[in-house]
């Protein structure tokens, strides 16, 4: 049977067919749909959870694999930074059943704070790495990763990118193969599972041996293949680059590596000897190129194909025409792009509970360290009110740092409920313990919203919305952690947010302001749209400062000031009423029919 699947759906399907029993992970674009698919399609047969962070997910999967269950962990590229501690020991120990980690990288930074190439981690951790070129391969490579993991007793990594995870292509569906292993006990095998130094010393030597063996295995592994065509140009590539290269260099010979670590040295040397010029074309860093050069094989790589952003076919053509590598450009350039168009960046949704907080922070020009979530859109015009953003959980630590630095101005940080659980907790404990000062604005929109409304410890559901879970109360938690002032306000009431913020700013110590309001996308709530009474509107444009995408500039103007009045797009307004609260002349009301 054939189905059109995204790479992420195919990865989930592949793990399912491979007999996976335990799946853990932390949401992050472009990886989130793997667990979503796992839970919604195969949740009856497979245990699935959103863990509080990637490290917790990795440890849980390791424990399950020690207990003989086939396990998988999913993360986006930056989540690998969080779980590396756990991955390194897992590679040393191996497990009793297959253990596969999936990373979905984001070349082009569609939704990430940095553009790291996670294939470096393959070499650091010494973990065999698979790179699929489309959804069909994503599914098949998952099965191969589980096979190899059990064959060599080592975790494996499947490396996807946004263009694999979020593209759809046709997949042939297969059958599930159950794990035959039944285990009653955790093996009492300290030399294998206890990474204390005296055992770990032996484990390190073993892992070097394993990687050598896998490298030899890779020489004849069917997922590494040579396609000989014209021998003037030979290209080594992996993953999505194979799909681009087939379109851009249809005549060239290609060595398509299905496994990018460890590399098949002889296969590469042999391919290099058969072509006039060898190119290694890879997105982001020269991870393969440097290893090829270290083999003593000359090649062309990063001096031509830059290390930033995606290498889409259009860009490959531009580069190759400019450098004379290709002479003919098959693209029609009849229609020119329109220059100078207004851009369209993401904005807080109409009805977003974060809007009131950034409106108030902007109004009072308060220094604000920020975190990762939709609320980083508070950094966009018209707010520009979240002044820093680094990585998950960084906002509280940065706020603490500002207070240590002793700036005369008082500062706040903004962090969402999902991020608070991921890595905000240790930072808050640190701040309280070290007598820090500042306001932590905990923006509680009832779930981990940006990546698709996943659960977190403060939600009463887990994985799927109809599965009940134990909910932890954040207000009580903050009090128990010793926060001196904890205040909860309604995020849809601008005055309440403003008053709550003032009270917290006046407090001498660590305070937490919880702004509570459900994400408008969660239950897709919407009520009667508001309208602007243009007879009352004085064209002050204060409502535009609320940064709502539903508020438009109208054609009508104030005859005195010649400023344009505003109107509300009824197809976008969700009726939250924030604009009505900030209008100084009460011109914005719900229009009763």
């Amino acid at each position: 049977m054939k189905e059109l699947l995204s790479g992420n759906e195919a990865i989930a399907r592949g793990a399912y067919e491979a007999g996976v029993q335990v799946v853990t992970g932390y949401p992050g674009t472009p990886s989130s749909e793997i667990i979503k698919t796992m839970a919604s399609k195969y949740g009856n047969e497979v245990y699935v959870e959103w863990s509080t962070n990637e490290k917790v997910a990795m440890d849980a999967a390791a424990g399950a694999a020690y207990a003989g269950k086939r396990a998988m962990v999913t993360t986006k590229q930056v989540g690998m930074n969080v779980l590396m501690d756990s991955l390194l020991y897992t590679v040393y120990t191996g497990a009793e059943a297959g253990l596969v980690l999936v990373t979905a990288d984001d070349p082009g930074l569609f939704s990430s704070q940095n553009e790291q190439d996670n294939r470096w981690y393959s070499r650091l951790a010494k973990i065999p790495t698979f790179e699929p070129a489309d959804s069909m391969e994503a599914k098949e490579f998952m099965k191969k990763a589980f096979e190899l993991s059990e064959m060599f007793d080592i975790p494996c990594l499947l490396h996807s990118v946004m263009r694999i995870s979020h593209c759809k292509s046709v997949v042939e569906i297969g059958e599930r193969v159950e794990n035959p292993k039944v285990q009653e006990k955790l093996p009492r095998n300290l030399p294998k599972y206890n990474c204390t130094a005296m055992y770990a010393r032996v484990m390190h030597a073993k892992i070097e041996e394993k990687i050598k063996k896998i490298s030899e295995f890779a020489e004849t592994y069917d997922i590494n293949r040579v396609e000989m065509r014209d021998t003037k140009m030979g290209i080594i590539c992996t993953g999505i680059m194979y799909a681009y290269i087939k379109d851009v260099f249809p005549e060239a010979s290609v060595l398509k590596l299905g496994m990018s670590y460890p590399l098949p040295t002889n296969m590469i040397k042999d391919f290099a000897s058969k072509v006039d010029k060898l190119y290694v074309i890879e997105e982001l860093d020269p991870v393969i190129e440097e290893q090829v050069r270290a083999m003593g094989v000359d090649c062309v790589g990063k001096e031509i194909f830059p290390p930033c952003y995606e290498l889409l076919p259009d860009r490959l053509y531009d580069i190759c025409i400019e450098k004379g590598i290709l002479t003919e450009d098959p693209r029609s350039m009849d229609v020119k792009p329109v220059e100078g168009l207004p851009g369209r960046n993401p904005v807080l949704c109409a009805g977003c509970p974060h809007r009131s907080t950034y409106f108030v922070l902007k109004k009072h020009d308060i220094a604000c360290t920020g975190d990762i979530g939709c609320y980083n859109l508070g950094a966009q015009p018209p707010f520009e009110a979240q002044h820093t953003m680094g990585c998950m959980g960084a906002s509280i630590g940065q706020l603490h740092g500002l207070s240590i630095a002793g700036l005369p101005e008082k500062a706040v940080c903004t962090i969402g409920d999902g991020t608070f659980w991921h890595s905000g907790l240790p930072a808050l404990a640190n701040m309280v313990h070290n007598n820090g000062k500042g306001v932590v604005i905990l923006m509680d929109n009832a779930n981990t919203a940006m990546t698709g409304h996943q659960d977190n410890p403060a939600t009463n559901y887990r994985v799927l919305r109809n599965v009940p879970a134990t909910k932890i109360d954040m207000e009580n938690l903050c009090r128990a952690m010793g926060v001196g002032l904890v205040k909860t306000v309604n995020a849809f009431d601008v005055n309440e947010v403003e008053a709550g913020l003032k009270e917290c700013m006046d407090y001498d110590g660590v305070s937490v302001l919880i702004t509570k309001g459900e994400c408008v996308q969660f239950n897709k709530w919407s009520s009667t749209p508001y309208t602007v009474d243009s007879a009352k509107c004085i064209a002050c444009q204060t409502c535009l400062k609320a940064g709502c995408p539903a508020i438009m500039i109208s054609e009508e103007e104030n005859p005195k000031t010649h400023k344009k009045k505003c109107r509300i797009d009824p197809t976008q307004c969700n009726g939250c009423g924030i604009c009505s609260q900030v209008c100084p002349v009460k011109a914005i009301q719900v229009k009763e029919d």
Partner: protein, 195 residues
């Protein structure tokens, strides 16, 4: 039946561009093509620009994205977004675009102006051989749900392609919630009647 067709669907995050391109890819597969698609989304679902490439090819699709100057049909859910992607069109291509305007934040912040109706019209005319524009949002609102706006455009697109009506209905029914199926089919039919 053509051997290969490249589509580009563009719009504003939240309009349903990705859903409709999923349906279009499914139609391609059901009609016997190899089909691939690629979305630009990420945070862009929050009101940012969204685009979705869909490629059908009887002999197999390599890359899931079309290159500049190779798209046969550009379907735009918002006129500014349609304008932003015209360079992808090959010579003699078709534009189907909604005319309902949504001002981005740089416009409402007073930093830039939204293109005039005349600029939009001229751009479309000089970029494509066939241009079909109408207020799809208005049609969707009158049908009872603004969310089916994209399906109206899909209906119009379906009239340009030699593919059985039943295949379209099958694909739409697979992707939209069961309770919304009827209004989506109505929207699809409404789009078909416009040309």
């Amino acid at each position: 039946m053509l051997n290969s067709i490249n589509f580009l669907m563009v719009g504003v995050g939240g309009q349903g561009t990705i859903l409709v391109s999923d349906i279009l890819s499914e139609v391609g597969m059901l009609a016997g093509y190899d089909a691939k698609k690629s979305d630009n989304m990420g945070l862009s679902v929050r009101g940012g620009a969204v685009s979705s490439h869909v490629r059908w090819n009887k002999d197999g699709v390599g890359c899931p994205l079309s290159m500049t100057g190779t798209v046969d049909v550009l379907v735009g859910s918002e006129p500014l977004e349609t304008m932003r992607s015209v360079q992808f069109l090959r010579k003699g291509a078709t534009i189907i675009s909604n005319t309902y305007e949504m001002q981005p934040m740089v416009v409402t912040s007073g930093i830039m102006d939204y293109p005039t109706k005349e600029e939009i019209e001229n751009c479309f005319k000089s970029s494509a051989e066939r241009v079909i524009t109408y207020d799809a949002t208005d049609i969707a609102v009158k049908l009872g749900n603004v969310k089916v706006m994209n399906i109206v455009l899909l209906g119009t697109l379906s009239k340009l392609l030699d593919i059985d009506y039943e295949i379209w209905v099958e694909a739409i029914s697979k992707y939209v919630p069961a309770k919304a199926r009827d209004i989506n089919i109505k929207a699809f039919d409404a789009g078909r009647e416009l040309i």
